[in-house]
Symmetry: C2
Amino acid sequence: MAEVSEEATRVSGIADVARLAGVSKSTASRALSGSGYVSPATRERVTAAAVALGYVPSTNAQSLATGRTQNVGVVMPYVNRWFFAEVLEGIQSALLERGLDLTLYDATPGSDRRRRIFDDFLARKRFDGLIAVGLEPQEDELDRMLSFDKPVVSVIGSSPRTSVVTIDDEDAASRATGHLLALGHTRIVFLGGGAGARDHHVEASRVRGYREAMAEAGLAHEVRHLPATLSMPDGYAAAVDLLSDPRERPTAIVAACDEVAIGAMVAARRLGIQVPAGLSIIGIDDHEYADMFALTTMQQIPREQGATAVELLIRQIEDPAAEVVDVVLKPRLVVRSSTAPLGRGAVPRIDAAG
Amino acid sequence: MAEVSEEATRVSGIADVARLAGVSKSTASRALSGSGYVSPATRERVTAAAVALGYVPSTNAQSLATGRTQNVGVVMPYVNRWFFAEVLEGIQSALLERGLDLTLYDATPGSDRRRRIFDDFLARKRFDGLIAVGLEPQEDELDRMLSFDKPVVSVIGSSPRTSVVTIDDEDAASRATGHLLALGHTRIVFLGGGAGARDHHVEASRVRGYREAMAEAGLAHEVRHLPATLSMPDGYAAAVDLLSDPRERPTAIVAACDEVAIGAMVAARRLGIQVPAGLSIIGIDDHEYADMFALTTMQQIPREQGATAVELLIRQIEDPAAEVVDVVLKPRLVVRSSTAPLGRGAVPRIDAAG
DNA sequence: TTGAAAGCGATACCAC
DNA sequence: GTGGTATCGCTTTCAA
C-alpha cells in the first residue's frame, strides 16, 4: 500500500487546477462551480485542466466554506422490512441522481442506539436535511430533529411541523374492508397492529378505517381486532390462534399489512383452510411477494414515496421558506385471488402467477 | 424558521469553549480530543465549558484538519433482501458503537447508478474505509475501491486483496446435501443460483458443494441443477416447474438460499405435495422466516458478519500495515421439519413454531 | 503545560 | 472578467 501511494501522483486540489489552467484559485473555483462570471474560454481551460488532473473537490473543504454538506440523513427504525427497505431504495436513487450522499441512521425503536443517534450523531449536523421514515408521533424526537434548523421531511406519520409523505391509512383499510363487504362477508376480522406498547399511528389509523367501514355497514357488533406485530411470523402465529377454533373462525381477514396477510395465508394452508374458498384475505402494501401468494391488496409504492420525500426535502433545502406540504397518496385496490365472494370461493389456479 | 435562528444563540465553536475556559484554542482542542498534554485542572475546566455551551465539534473542520472523516462507506447491491439488510444492521450497530457514521451506496448490479457510484461518489473519498458487501468477482470495481488508498473489507466473495468475511459456501452446500443423503435421499435437485449472466461466486460455490457431495456418494449421474434468482418468487416459480411433472419429481431439494427454499415450500403446498412427507427441502441462511416455515437449513448470521467486517476495517484504519485476513465461518445445521427420511416423512405439526 | 500561528481545501467578497 | 485575501472550524507543529 505504501509503495503504491508514494509512486502515485499527489492528489490534486483546486490550486493545481488553477495553476495548470494559468488562472487564480478563485477563477478556477468559479469556473468549476458554475457560479459567478467566467469567460467561456477560461471556463474551458479550467475544465480541461480539472479533467486532466482528475480533480475531485474535497467535499469537506466545500462544506466548511459553504455550509452545505451535500449529504442527507435518513432515520428509520428498521431496514429489514419490505416497506422500509423499499423507501430507502427510493430515497437513495433520488439522492444519487442529484449527487447527494445518504447517511443512514438505523434507529431501532427503544434501543440505546436510538437514543445515541438522536443525542450524539444527529447533533453533528452532517446533513443538509433529514428524512424521517416511520418515526411516528414521538414528539421529543421530532423536536430534536427540528432543533437542528435544517429541513425535515417525514415519510409515514402525520406531523404538522414537517412535510409528510404518506398514504391515507384509514381510507386504505376502509376500502379493503369495503372490498370484503362487497363480496358478502360479514364476519371480518382485522389482523395485526396494536401489539406494541406505544400507540402506532399507522396501525391505529388502519384499525379505525376497518372499524368505520364495519360500522357503516351496520356491522359494529362484528368488529374484532386481533393484535400482532407487523411481521410475517407474527401474523402467522396470530392467525394460527385465530383460525384454530372453527366456531370462532371468520370468513374474511383484513390484514394490517401484506406481511401479516401472507403470514395468515400460510397459517390457513397449514390448517387445511382453502384461500379464498374457506377464507378471504386482503392486505395493504402490494409486497414483493404479494403476486406469488396471489394476494389481493391495497397497493402502495414505497419507492415512490421515498423519491417524493427527497423532492420535498430538496425544495426546502433550496428555499427554506418553502411551505410545508403533505402528500397523501391513495392506494389502489389490486385484486388477485385471495378474496372471493362468500361461500363461492374458487380453488386457486396453480401456476407461476399464483 | 428565520426568526427562530435569529433569536437562538449562535452555535458555539471551539473558540467559544476556549474563551469560556480561559485558555487558547490549541489547549481546548488538546483537552477535548485527549491528545497531547493538558493539566487535569485545565482539562476539567475545558470540558465543563464545552458541556455548558453544548459544544459539538464540526466534523467537517475536523476532517479537513486530520484527514479522518469518521465515516465508513458501505456498498451493497441490494438492501431489500434478508441477507443484505441483516449485514447492514450489523455494520450499522458496530459503527454506532464507535461513533462512526455510515454512508450507504446501494449499487444495484448493472445499473447506471452503480457506475455513477463507483465513478463519482466513491471518488469523493468521504470515508475512512469501505465495506463491500456481495460485490463478487468484479475485478475492475475492486480495483477502483482499492485505488482510493483506504482500507476495504469485503463481506462475501473471495478476494486476495482485501480482508474478507464470509461463510464457506461450498462446505455449507455440501453438508446440506449430506444431510439429505444421510436421510436416504438420492434424487436430490439443487435449486437456485446461476440464473444471471454473470458468474456469481457464492452461487457457483454452493452448486459445487452440492455436486461434490453427490459425486462422493456415487450419485454423479443424479446431479441436477435448476437455475433461479436467489429470491422467493423466483424460487417459487422454478419449483412449480420442477414439481409439476410427477415423473421428474425429486424426493429432496437443496436450495441455494432460504428464500428459494421457502419459495419451493410454497410451491409444493400449492401443488398438494406434503413437506417433508413427499418432499424434503433444505436451505442455507436461517432466514427470519425459516422458523415459521419449519425449514431445515444451514445457519449463518449475517448480522455478525457485518460486525466482524467493521472490526477488521477499524483495525486497518488504525494500522494501515495490519495484515489482510480472511474470516471464514462454518454454518451449522439447524434441523427443523422440512426434511425427513426418504419415504417415512411425518406430517408436520401444526403450531406456532411450525 | 500552554499558546501562537500555520495549514487543511475550498468559497466568496471586494477591488482592480 | 479576474485575482487577492479573508474565512469556514479545527488540529498540530514549534516556541516559550
